[in-house]
Amino acid sequence: MSDENRPQGRGPVQAVFALASAALGLAVLCVFAWLGGLIHGLGVALPAPVIGLALLATTLSLSELKAASASRVRPLAMLRRAMTPVSRTLIRHLGLLFVPAGVGVMTQWATLRSAWPAILTGLIGSTLVGLAATGWLMQALSQPRRPHGSGKP
């Protein structure tokens, strides 16, 4: 990962600053999660964190559009810079956070033992169908990439 090789703060001042920035970033994520919960509470039939995810993605996409046209969006850019490192850390260790939920499978032992052929067939069948449908449609629907247009890394 490239962001791991980024120069980190060297002195104590930079360390404190990085910590404060990470805390601010986490606070931003929590605010979006809270907003998601609020909207979910209003009766939107989407899970609260998924609403928060959609709100965050929309806000970031809008800030990018604006950044291209005007320079008056410093607060959004700062917010984004604050939340990026903490987001990457959380995503990298997302697996750890759902171990407690996953352990809940121990309460489903009877289901697993009696229905494993159905589970196995369903898992393999549906994953193959999903891969095939998405891959084939995407290739069929997208125009071939122009060789000179792919200058970006």
């Binding site: 990026t84 589970i119 898992l123 997208s142």
Partner: protein
């Protein structure tokens, strides 16, 4: 003071983190083979320890509430890679949306229908519905539609493993060579586990895999409750 002490609660947090570290180590030893999923290994270790110490799941879940609490903001954080990569693919957005929607609906229906046809119960079929999406979102959707979250989490991980193993072979047989299509398919049908299989191969595959993970999370979250009403 009544009830379990703070120290006891912290013990299961420590066990969970240690089990996950163990999973990461085994995954590295197995050269990051998708079957050696660090989360799956951690789950097995924790279940064995709970069984050995006769600790109930309810007790364990309560003691590790701190980790679960972070799951919300961490799931929200998935919006960042989605936004970053969406900006790169505006030109093929229509194809992306159609392909993800089709893959999402078809894999959900196939999974639920196969389970029902082979004699699986309704609760199992419900847990199967969100299994193509990234595990934290699958857990959130399971809560929403009344499926058992642990079952959905494990099915999501196993589905990702199946996707990681099959993605390159299947798409090669189908003559799907466009890296954008390969990445999008991996992210949509196999979430992060299949995505990490193709992402290192090509920059476009990585970007489209990230989009597949995010968009299929949203699509499945929208459609799973509707589907759940039919079954």
């Amino acid at each position: 003071m009544s009830g379990p002490s703070l120290a006891e609660a912290a013990l299961w947090m420590a066990v969970t983190v240690a089990a996950y570290a163990c999973g990461l180590a085994v995954n590295r030893l197995a050269r990051r083979a998708p079957v050696a999923s660090p989360v799956l290994i951690a789950i097995v270790i924790v279940i064995l320890l709970l069984d050995l110490t006769h600790t109930s799941y309810a007790r364990y879940f309560r003691d590790t509430a701190g980790l679960t609490l972070l799951l919300g903001p961490a799931t929200v954080a998935l919006g960042l890679p989605l936004a970053e990569n969406l900006a790169h693919v505006r030109r093929s957005l229509l194809g992306v949306l159609v392909a993800v929607a089709a893959g999402s609906v078809l894999s959900m229906i196939t999974g639920v229908a196969l389970v029902r046809a082979l004699g699986g119960g309704r609760s199992l079929a419900l847990a199967m519905a969100p299994k193509a999406v990234t595990t934290p979102i699958a857990v959130a959707i399971a809560h929403q539609i009344g499926a058992q979250p642990g079952l959905s989490a494990v099915l999501a991980i196993l589905g990702g493993v199946v996707g990681a193993i099959c993605v390159q072979g299947l798409l090669a047989v189908m003559a799907v060579k466009d890296w954008r299509a390969v990445g999008l398919a991996a992210g949509t049908a196999g979430s992060g586990i299949a995505a990490s299989q193709v992402a290192p191969l090509h920059g476009a595959a990585a970007a489209f895999a990230a989009i597949g993970i995010g968009l299929n999370g949203l699509t499945t979250a929208l459609l799973a409750p509707l589907l759940a009403r039919w079954f």
